[in-house]
Amino acid sequence: MSMKRRAFVRGAAATTFLFTVGGIEQSLTPAQACAQGAALKKLTPEQADLLGAYVEALVPGARAAGIAQFVDQQCSVPPHEALLGLRIANGNPPFVDFYVKALAEIDRQSNSRFGKSFEEMSGSDQRAFIDLLRQAKLEDWRGPQQPQVYNVLRDDGVDVVYGTVEGFALLGVPYMPHVLPTARW
């Protein structure tokens, strides 16, 4: 191993993620994939919409930053290459199972408690729902453990909005890497 104090690799070629737009595979950021309507690989459009709405309620900007495209793409790569926070939250592959089960339960609970889908709920109802979930107070919950769902989806949102070099800049925090991330997003 060679030792350099800091490896600034500004402007290095960025390895973005592979998304399919109009049948053509392209290297895009999740935000670009979202804007260009990249094809989903693991989630259904309904699941992606719900994921976008739920995480947006927790971390504003997450939908446009491509939360659904990011999670979908990361669930499609070999598990040991995935960058999902679920990896450090005791999640086991196939990672998509966690999301599918969590989203199905969010949908079921939204409809049974509020008589409408999560996307249709008012902002305050969405926040009330998430607050109950956070405290594991949604009764008859049939998905993965509520605090885990809360934490993993919140962390995914923070990842896509603030976890990047650009996200650090939004927060006004200097990035100071040793080895700069090779993904542009």
Binding site: M1, A7, E81, R87, N90, D159, P181
Partner: protein, 345 residues
């Protein structure tokens, strides 16, 4: 099933426990193969990013099925260096009374060794890995046998706030001994305080096996086989001595790696030592049939009740013979074979 060439010692897992044994064995002239479940990391793999840092966390290519599967979680790393690649580098020591909790407080169990037995190894590891601290300030709690090789790390404002508050209440504090270079040490630079340690420090400031025991073991020609997942410890005809392991290689093909007998069951103990953090190692070792009666975290073997990296490394130095002795004394029952399954994608 492919049969590999026999070596003196097979080590399961390239975490600190595996690394220190490999270093020790290669220094003794033994041929050693380490079978490591994860990748063989290069410094460029330690990308300064919360998100990319997750690659150094465990992600199973195989799963062990069955009851009481411990799983891998936040507390596990994988690849060379094991969980220590991204540990927080706190290097506390046990104190004298920690070894005698039964006699002193009527709780738990006494260790079969004392602080004095282990102190030279604490000191030795501090020098091997590089620990920053102020031993003199710890004198009120423990005898000081040697100074730390480096002065303590810089204290920042939040640390000062704590210090001021504690001092106000007459509570003494000492700088946390830390496996991070406060000054240049053994050709490795001083810390830049940029806080990427938890995703792996690529410049060698962090005292991990990559920069110490594994580096010397590599120089001594130890072979590290990444993406090798051990599923079973093989025994000789007597069933009492380890004779190698069964594993899946990087192409997911099953193979056998035989090892020469090395007196006692120390091959197995090396893996057993991995305790709570190397639980997978432990689980397939249980299959060997030398299952300790006590479960993880409730162990009768003092050496195995050690949990943190600092302790683990120290204990590895001191207790090899004692472990063998403890296991021989009969902390063992027959184990059931575990099944290995590949997770669906």
């Amino acid at each position: 099933m492919a049969q590999r060439e026999k070596v003196d010692v097979v080590i399961v897992g390239a975490g600190p426990a595996g690394a220190i044994y490999t270093d020790q064995m290669t220094r003794e002239g033994k041929s050693v193969v380490i079978l490591e479940f994860g990748p063989d990391w290069d410094n460029n793999d330690f990308i300064s990013s919360e998100i990319w840092g997750r690659r150094i966390k465990h992600a199973p290519r195989f799963e062990l099925a069955g009851k009481n599967n411990p799983g891998h979680g936040f507390n596990a790393g994988w690849g060379t260096g094991g969980s220590m690649s991204h540990y927080y580098a706190n290097f506390p020591r046990l104190l004298q009374n920690d070894f005698k909790v039964k006699s002193l407080y009527g709780k738990g169990l006494d260790w079969p060794i004392s602080y004095e037995d282990i102190a030279p190894y604490y000191d030795r590891v501090a020098h091997d890995l590089g620990v920053s601290g102020d031993a003199e300030k710890e004198r009120r709690w423990r005898p000081v046998t040697d100074a730390y090789p480096m002065p303590p790390l810089k204290t920042f404002r939040h640390g000062e706030i704590w210090r001021e508050a504690f001092e106000k209440h007459g509570i003494p504090l000492a700088p946390m001994p830390t496996g991070i270079n406060s000054v240049e040490y053994k050709g490795r630079p001083a810390c830049l305080n940029d806080g990427w340690c938890h995703v792996g420090c690529p410049i060698g400031v962090h005292g991990t096996p990559q920069w110490s025991y594994l580096a010397t073991a590599r120089e001594q020609k130890a072979e590290i086989r990444p993406f090798s997942y051990v599923t079973r410890v093989l025994t000789d005809a007597s069933g009492a001595r380890a004779a190698g392991v069964e594993y899946y290689d990087d192409k997911k093909e099953a193979g056998r790696q035989p090892s020469r007998h090395d007196g006692d069951a120390v091959h197995v103990l090396r893996a057993l030592r991995q305790g709570p953090f190397g639980q997978r190692v432990r689980q397939c070792v249980l299959d060997y049939g030398q299952r300790p009666q006590a479960k993880c975290g409730n162990s009768r073997c003092a050496a195995r009740s050690v949990r943190c990296a600092a302790e683990r490394v120290h204990a590895a130095r001191v207790t090899r013979a004692r472990e063998a002795e403890l296991l021989r004394r009969g902390n063992a029952t027959a184990g059931k074979p575990c099944r290995v399954v590949e997770p669906e994608r």
